[in-house]
Symmetry: D2
Subunit: 508 residues, 4 copies
Amino acid sequence: MPCQHLVETGMPDIDALWADFARPIANADDYIASLRGRRMNVFFMGERVPEPVDNPVIFPSINAMAETYRLASDHPDVGSVHTPIAGVRINRFLHVPIGPDELVAKHEMQRELGRRTGTCFQRCVGLDAIGACHSVTFDIDAEIGTDYHKRFLGFLKKAQAANVVIGGAMTDPKGDRSKPPHRQSDPDLFLRIVKRDADGIHVSGAKMHQTGAVNSHWLIVMPTMRMTEADKDWSFVGALRVDAPGLTYVVGRQTNDTRGVDGGPLDAGNAQFAGQEALIVFDNVFIPHEHVFMDGEWQYAATLVERFTTYHRSSYVCKTGLGDVLIGAAAEAASHNGVEAVSHIKDKLVEMTHLNETIYSSCMAGAYRAKPMASGAYLNDEMLSNVAKHNVTRFPFEIARLAQDIAGGLVVTMPSEKDLQNNEIGPLIRKFLQGRSGIDTVDRMRVLRLIENMTIGRNAVGYLTESLHGAGSPQAQRIQIARGMAIEDKKARARKLAGIDDRRRSGG
Amino acid sequence: MPCQHLVETGMPDIDALWADFARPIANADDYIASLRGRRMNVFFMGERVPEPVDNPVIFPSINAMAETYRLASDHPDVGSVHTPIAGVRINRFLHVPIGPDELVAKHEMQRELGRRTGTCFQRCVGLDAIGACHSVTFDIDAEIGTDYHKRFLGFLKKAQAANVVIGGAMTDPKGDRSKPPHRQSDPDLFLRIVKRDADGIHVSGAKMHQTGAVNSHWLIVMPTMRMTEADKDWSFVGALRVDAPGLTYVVGRQTNDTRGVDGGPLDAGNAQFAGQEALIVFDNVFIPHEHVFMDGEWQYAATLVERFTTYHRSSYVCKTGLGDVLIGAAAEAASHNGVEAVSHIKDKLVEMTHLNETIYSSCMAGAYRAKPMASGAYLNDEMLSNVAKHNVTRFPFEIARLAQDIAGGLVVTMPSEKDLQNNEIGPLIRKFLQGRSGIDTVDRMRVLRLIENMTIGRNAVGYLTESLHGAGSPQAQRIQIARGMAIEDKKARARKLAGIDDRRRSGG
Amino acid sequence: MPCQHLVETGMPDIDALWADFARPIANADDYIASLRGRRMNVFFMGERVPEPVDNPVIFPSINAMAETYRLASDHPDVGSVHTPIAGVRINRFLHVPIGPDELVAKHEMQRELGRRTGTCFQRCVGLDAIGACHSVTFDIDAEIGTDYHKRFLGFLKKAQAANVVIGGAMTDPKGDRSKPPHRQSDPDLFLRIVKRDADGIHVSGAKMHQTGAVNSHWLIVMPTMRMTEADKDWSFVGALRVDAPGLTYVVGRQTNDTRGVDGGPLDAGNAQFAGQEALIVFDNVFIPHEHVFMDGEWQYAATLVERFTTYHRSSYVCKTGLGDVLIGAAAEAASHNGVEAVSHIKDKLVEMTHLNETIYSSCMAGAYRAKPMASGAYLNDEMLSNVAKHNVTRFPFEIARLAQDIAGGLVVTMPSEKDLQNNEIGPLIRKFLQGRSGIDTVDRMRVLRLIENMTIGRNAVGYLTESLHGAGSPQAQRIQIARGMAIEDKKARARKLAGIDDRRRSGG
Amino acid sequence: MPCQHLVETGMPDIDALWADFARPIANADDYIASLRGRRMNVFFMGERVPEPVDNPVIFPSINAMAETYRLASDHPDVGSVHTPIAGVRINRFLHVPIGPDELVAKHEMQRELGRRTGTCFQRCVGLDAIGACHSVTFDIDAEIGTDYHKRFLGFLKKAQAANVVIGGAMTDPKGDRSKPPHRQSDPDLFLRIVKRDADGIHVSGAKMHQTGAVNSHWLIVMPTMRMTEADKDWSFVGALRVDAPGLTYVVGRQTNDTRGVDGGPLDAGNAQFAGQEALIVFDNVFIPHEHVFMDGEWQYAATLVERFTTYHRSSYVCKTGLGDVLIGAAAEAASHNGVEAVSHIKDKLVEMTHLNETIYSSCMAGAYRAKPMASGAYLNDEMLSNVAKHNVTRFPFEIARLAQDIAGGLVVTMPSEKDLQNNEIGPLIRKFLQGRSGIDTVDRMRVLRLIENMTIGRNAVGYLTESLHGAGSPQAQRIQIARGMAIEDKKARARKLAGIDDRRRSGG
């Protein structure tokens, strides 16, 4: 599905851009096939990746994304939804939520995908970008008479019909964090419009650690923070194909990313699924007007960011699905060791569950308390969404620690699958790594490798570090909590109970 | 409103029992008036309390209960609700919730009352007893053909019409905790039926630390735990007037309970509101059949307890209302000290809010996810309700610690209000306890006393210790979390991702 | 032992000031006797206290102080030490430590006194003031040729010989915390010299929440923070008799301070021992030059404060003695309930012990690592002393929470001792509050009251809130930790391991 | 230095065993050279490793061990000590501590080596094995007249003279953890004596995850737990050469172990240093009597384990050296981002330091409080050593979380060093990953890679997971804390303060 047309003429029309997607993606296999044959500049570990689908390090991330299609096929009630926009049933990852129940259903889907993949399935950023753009474009149009919302709906309808993966691209390099875009020594440190012409805009710069970027079909680029009037050229939103001319991708290294290659599926721990983050560099990339949803309206950048992060912080409910897997793995490891019924082991499993369900409840409460915006889209409760994400920055670390506690030191000292295959030492390992009677030693090793994978291996990247920084670092949530905490009302309540309102009478 | 009839004849009919409540309680003043003139055996600090309403230590607890009437008057949308049972609008504390939205509304009411009183307003136990009895009586009838549900609805309709306070009485003395009721050396250590006759049952024993007991009109007594067949005489539910012959109340001491008496309103910290717990002793107390809702069906004791605690653990959302007050008080104290804008102070206020809202979200999520039972009543999600309460056993302690941190040591070293009134030292205190310019020194003292009240004073009883033990101690929640955590499903998820399902093919 | 001479002449000589102490205090009874008959202006709850020893609320604090004498009598190895200054054996609370072993012994004494009293025994502030003054006066003299150290030694020798209690007074009211003394709207908000004359200085102002003030014989007043040149009149150190003319004391209210009075020893929980804090107001109080140890040398105020707090933060090791008592009380309560062997109970006792010993080890490590100062006195390691105190601001709160968890709700709902004495309800309480077989119900109540006393009662003031604020609030420790954390060295270590030192060769 | 003699004759004499070590190891280079040319059966990732020194994955662990020699050369005061056994100055890792000060010095050395390597330098197990064997052999001899202590001293003198690395081998596979050795279905699941003859013993079985095994010269094998009489054949201690016939080593996989190979030094994060754990399989391995220090005295197994773990748990003070590096790395990363002065960043650095120094103080306090045993060796305070290690199972996880919080998401999404070297994308990475002005982008990457290395990379194995399980998992410490917590004394203290001792008089 190469973006050939663009390359040749340099100036696409919209229909041409969508021509490759005429036949909607029907299922997971179809999705994987759709990624083949694109001419993208993708690099990993210093080398161009000619076909990411065939790269064994990248493929598990594609497969995790594919699970979003599988779920929609297997459980359409969970993974798909009817949209009034196109009037058809679509993958829920392309849906603008129009009621609390739809946000609840979204979060259930995310937890289930966490359970199915044990990693980041990468499709939430785009989903939450859709949600945020829907209402913000509506608001801009309503206030200053633009037609962004119409453009956006046009784009979204096509994307829904084609059942494509939309990636959301927000985080800029930012350079010196004490300076706004227009005062950076290098203006490219925030993605910016370098040229406007009759057909659209041309943008340069970069977006950092973009989730699932290489596995997407389209990207929505958005500003990363509050802007000022002088930052107009950095204040825009647009959608573009991931294979648009001028884009370069550098896939980041993850902990143990090569385990499946240098070791094998056992060493990988979770051989089927992984996440993906990439640096995307934009070199004079063209976006036609039809795909531009904000162009210089710097006043709306903060609103867009806040709505996006409110959606996205609650999307971290997915980590409770990973938590389910890790709790199960710890229990399984304890069972292999014959200690599942020991009181301190049971108590640790309860603690892990308690923390996991606390995260879940804060995410879900924010969904149930969603409020409608002018566009009709519903937004999670902002305070609770921040509280939810803030718990995500803490509890998975403790859950992971407890999982390692239960599993034992073998998690980090175990021989390789290749040792198992060696005639001389394979039998020794099978002999000495056996657990309680009746347990297959290799199964025991598999579970321990899964725990390694999620606590200090490849998917710990998503379960732990991404839990800290994705959708905003801890301090970002604290700032939002401070804004929303209605401290003056709380103080008034306290003064009343302290008897201060009565002071003129009582005389103190 | 003395229970005169009962005293004289010894054998009431139901109408007589309700005769005193013919005129419904219209508002808070009416409620307070309704408590006067009852012939109850109430003791406090070694002395009979002739009229609890006039006892200055007890009155703040009555006033907190009265706030449930005030709220219904001031904000009927919050404090009252239409009931299909009687077909009228009633106080929400007498309502059986028949949808998630009603549990949500209940929790909002509870948080608001927490904000208004800064203490335990004592009416939730009865409310949650109503909820639990509604469905359990329905189930017993359905399974074994009794008519408990009809009796219960008859009782409830009268209570709703009269707008009375129903207390719930569950916790027995329990004696040797390793033994069931029928094996206790003293059979009275669990409340029990000592005689059954044509009119009803006669019960003896005690209930421990009963919330708001003296401030109620009726009590529902319930078993405290799972029973066995040999415990049939301890397995019953009944409703009785708090002034029934044979009842004795001993009001427990609370931290700083006498502050308002020996000091004054300033020393009390929160002079208007407090909680109440009492020991209730039952000496051959009669309950007519019409008010008996379980009589020997020991198999349902566990179900009743579980449903009650599921309701009641979520009711601890009220503590987030207390949290609001305490956060506000800490912010006010910081403002008086001129340090509200200091970064570590702001950060602590954010942390307090984060913890408070985490409790809130776990309570609310469990309400939104309520499920209907056969009787039509809705019950909070059991896992989330336990998770919510478990957070309540932790976070208020940290919120209180942070409040004291912000407020400073004066919280526990401050002179008395009586010192302020002393001509010699009053001026010295006003001079040396002044905060930043423009702050009334006495107001500063009031806020600090409120913080004392909630963290190491009278209402710390409710905010901290009751948060540990009310509705079940921490370990009780852990047991329920263990039961609900679906560990086998979690293990299966882990095995699948670890590749164990594939082992026959891969050969390990 | 009235300060008669001073009252009459208005201008004492040093010998007259010490005349009352000619006969050294021999033991605890002698100490208590020594407090009688002084003409001090002491107020409590709005009334003048004619004889504090006879005041039942104040006496437990005197008795806790007396325990420092009892320990020296019972265990001279723990409670006393040989001093090279006077060449005799003295109470350790009057000793300047001249080796790490002496700081270790001091801390062992403090923990033991914590175990013996379950409260603040109030004599450490003076002890640590002695330590700080010894070295700072030496340094001032060495640098600017004053004779403060000689004066100080003269004072100390007399105090050691007389075996008196020295209180340390540091904390000023401070008013607007953003302003130094000389910029306060009211100059008295920091204690200051209002007049200097040939004989000495005259000081006015106040010191806040002074530990054991009324129970002391002498006070050492010290500046509370770093001073500037404009604050010279606020930069002084001096020793004065607690019954000096011009002093007024207002004893602060503590949680449950009147329990022993309105309830009885059982209700008090710990009837024998309590702490004490008072506001001291100074009205033109005279200090003769011989007792002035700093007079305007503002440059040394910060040093004095830092040394004092370094000593004093480690002195919070006493709280581990309280922790021992509370752990024991929780275990005893569990035993009474018949659940001491239950796994979660045992686990909580272990956790409490772990936290308690963590505090202990951080205090002790700082003592062992003490370094000598120019005067020969040894000072605890500053970093570890701050770390120790910072742990004290956290762990006692968790220990207290766990104690309440183990003890159960009865801690805050139990009837009064007076109820026990009531003929009608006393037997009922004995019947229904019984624990496992063989346990005296009243003993069970006593232990629960002790837990109340230490977690939400009178001695929770010392165990919890004072643990936060005494010797500096948490943020004060964080500032000192930041100063001492040698971050540049740590960064250099990191750069080296990251390979940054090699960058010129490797080319990066 | 091949073990040629042994291979040929099959029956060594002691002199022959030591012949290869006639020339003492002089320094780090000498040490590394000493590892070459040995005929050991070492496997890694399914392949025999002909020369571990030349294996790029293994070498960093050798280099970390070599740092113990470098330190002794560079700072003999820290890394070496005079021994009365041989009467000469030796590497401190071969020294039996004979005073608290020597344990203190040992811990300072360990922290310094942690700072120098940022990983596990692997020589402490052997050191602590020496300490434990010294006293236990003494005690056995004293009680039952054996000559183990003399044998042990003979061995130790040679080892000290040769300056070799001694590894300690304790952890057996253990199979079904609910069964003692003699009841295992496979007797080899604990290392055991399979034959005794005139010259010595022959042992078979395995030891799991042995630290630095391949990098050692000698191993001391010890029982792993309390034994019973039926376990006599599993109850022995012996020293053997790591190249003894019959030994096989399987080096375990570590997180990111291949980073230096597939990426390069930048990707490795800490290219110079790493830890090592191996499975050691014993197939009928001979140990001559002269090197057997316990042979069937099962009663002493528990004592040996307890003394070893008491030493070894305090040895985890090394992690504070790693903590220093990680705190420094976080501060450096913050500096690169231009946010080092931001209040929440500073506060997190303080918190990391506070936790790190808390660990340090609990380790050090236990050293200072060491007590002598009959042999003259000093042993750390047991309670504090367990408390110290227990803190190590918690705080490094929080320190690591905070380091990642400060460092930002780039820690886990950064491109490879090979990308930097690519002409096309290298310049893009340098452009877009730049931090604040003046910072070399590659240096910034290096620091972030170091943080990855220590928190979710190769050395996180040692800093986090090993901190949980090394020297005993958390529950092992809790058991020891429970044993040492003197709960009866604590209960007695509580009873006394509660007034229970007075009950006969007061009448309760």
